[in-house]
């Protein structure tokens, strides 16, 4: 059996990213997660450089702080003239923060030799090394997110469909989107041990994309995305275990373990592709039926 901590971590990550990702996609901010995860990188590196600690509790705080800074700079760039389009803004902040991260990396590499290996596990994720502590962090993000969505559901769906109109409603306050964004930052940082800076945002995108092509409503889409996330989260450590034993059987006892994070992402992306393909096929079938109908 796969390690239960790994399994639980993957399931929780799937549920969390299904939920958070649905909101990102509905607000046309699919890349926001990518920006935050790349901005978390300089935070990780700085925290390691300054404290020398390798504890995720310490590094995660650094990552989250810089993630919040990225969020604030996005806000700031969006103010005033609207001539900078959202995607341009995202690209600007992503590359700026990641470039800073690369500079810090070089510094830390020289000042604290031997720490790079550890940082690399955050760049690409190291799911196999998940411990119960990591899953606990994930759960402490997931629970308040679910409560927020439950309590402010109507406000949040208005925010996604028509943010300007929402601002004219009596219940609208700035706190709800701010809390949602804050949870997104913490959620992404919590997911870094699973999928790493580079891939974590893929989970944020592929789960809601699949759900979107299977459902027509926001609420059911979120449930499907969360369910799919849990399923794939449970599946990926199993796939890893299975392939490992197959490899072992074929090629002797060499260490051919697949990394769990990329397997998770690949499964998710495959599901997105398949669901979109299915949808297209269904549409084409309906169109064909329509044509036949019209000809007779």
């Amino acid at each position: 059996m796969p390690d239960p901590a790994v399994m639980t971590g993957c399931i929780l990550a799937g549920v969390l990213y299904g939920l958070l990702g649905s909101f990102c996609m509905a607000r046309n901010q699919a890349l926001l997660g990518d920006v935050i995860s790349h901005a978390a990188w300089p935070g990780l590196v700085l925290a390691l450089g300054l404290t020398g600690s390798r504890h995720f509790g310490v590094l995660g705080v650094g990552a989250a702080l810089v993630g919040f800074m990225a969020l604030i700079s996005l806000e700031y760039l969006g103010k005033g003239s609207t001539r900078i389009k959202p995607d341009t803004r995202l690209a600007l902040v992503l590359s700026g923060f990641f470039a800073a991260g690369m500079l810090f990396t070089r510094q830390v590499q020289t000042s604290r030799p031997g720490s790079m290996g550890h940082l690399h596990s955050f760049l690409f994720g190291q799911t196999a090394a998940l411990v119960w502590m990591d899953t606990a962090v994930m759960a402490t993000v997931l629970i308040p997110t679910m409560i927020l969505v439950w309590l402010r559901w109507r406000d949040l769906s208005a925010l996604c469909f028509d943010p300007q109109w929402r601002q004219t409603t009596p219940h609208a306050n700035g706190a709800t989107p701010a809390i949602l964004n804050g949870l997104l930052v913490i959620g992404i940082v919590a997911g870094l041990p699973v999928a790493g800076v580079v891939l974590v945002s893929a989970l944020l995108v592929c789960l809601p994309v699949t759900a979107r092509s299977l459902t027509n409503r926001f609420s059911s889409g979120i449930l499907v995305a969360m369910g799919l996330g849990a399923t794939l989260g449970a599946l990926s450590p199993l796939v890893v275990m299975l392939t490992e034993s197959i490899f072992r059987h074929w090629r002797g006892n060499d260490d051919a373990r697949l990394p769990t994070g990329p397997v998770f992402v690949l499964l998710g992306v495959t599901c997105s592709g398949l669901s979109l393909g299915l949808k297209n096929m269904r549409q084409r079938k309906i169109q064909r039926m329509g044509r036949n109908h019209a000809s007779c």
């Binding site: 469909f161 028509d162 409603t169 409503r217 889409g221």
Partner: protein
């Protein structure tokens, strides 16, 4: 005195000036719209009509001036105000059905901790029926035509059961049948004592069907009863020298 204001004026604007970027878009505008009027806001493209509506509902912060709705600031009276944004500004790919959007309008009067009840659903259904969309209630909004989209937004506003309605170009890209359906709804709202303010480009329609009009081009040119506002002189001052009443009507038709 404030009591008297409250009963006679739905919208009162004093000295409103709005600057966007580096340009003054609305300049020193005073306006009073009496309760129970069907009021058109008319002006050329870029006259600041959208900006005016957004400033009324506090989406844009003016540099000076104040807005009162039913005698109170917007933050107090927002429950009484239904804002219908320009259709083109929305994300119509959002996964929701027609009924979902109409239901959004009922959130106004519902405390956030309460769930949607029978009453809310009935209100949404009635609003959809009023705009002739009850058959499409389960249709995803991404599959709607422009005129249908506009009517969904109107239904959402109707479900709000507001006193003051602010509509930004509800007739843009809408066919004649939808236009008269929307117009009928607006007129019946007016007949029920609601105040309806509509940004409109068709001067003939304004002259025929509205009671009140505001002509503006950055500054207010004229406001009051339609017959006294829509005059060749005022139109010339709003749209520039060479445009006459008939040209305008034809251009929009």
């Amino acid at each position: 005195m404030s009591q008297a204001n409250q009963s006679s004026h739905a919208i009162e604007i004093e000295d409103l000036t709005v600057v966007l970027g580096e340009r003054t878009v609305v300049c020193d505008l005073d306006l009073k719209v009496p309760v129970g009027k069907l009021c058109a806001v008319v002006g050329p493209n870029g006259a600041g009509k959208t900006t005016l509506i957004k400033a009324i509902v506090s989406l844009i912060k003016p540099v000076s001036g104040q807005v009162r709705i039913l005698g109170r600031p917007f933050s107090v009276s927002c429950r009484e105000v239904a804002y219908v944004p320009q259709r083109s500004g929305l994300d119509w790919d959002f996964p929701a059905t027609v009924a979902d959007v109409a239901l959004m309008g009922t959130h106004h009067s519902l405390p956030w901790w309460k769930g949607l009840g029978r009453g809310e659903r009935d209100r949404a259904t009635a609003a959809l029926a009023a705009v002739g969309l009850e058959e499409l209630r389960d249709r995803p909004i991404s599959n709607l035509s422009g005129g249908q989209q506009q009517r969904v937004l109107l239904a959402r506003a109707l479900a709000q059961q507001a006193e003051v309605f602010l509509l930004d170009e509800p007739f843009q890209g809408v066919d004649a049948a939808s236009e008269s359906a929307i117009m009928r709804t607006l007129t019946s709202m007016r007949d029920h004592g609601k105040t309806v303010m509509v940004v409109h480009h068709d001067l003939h329609a304004v002259a025929e069907r509205f009671d009140h009009a505001v002509l503006m081009n950055v500054r207010k040119i004229a406001d009051g009863a339609v017959s006294s506002v829509i005059t060749p002189e005022n139109l010339r001052r709003t749209f520039g020298t060479r445009v006459g009443f008939d040209d305008l009507g034809q251009r929009e038709a």
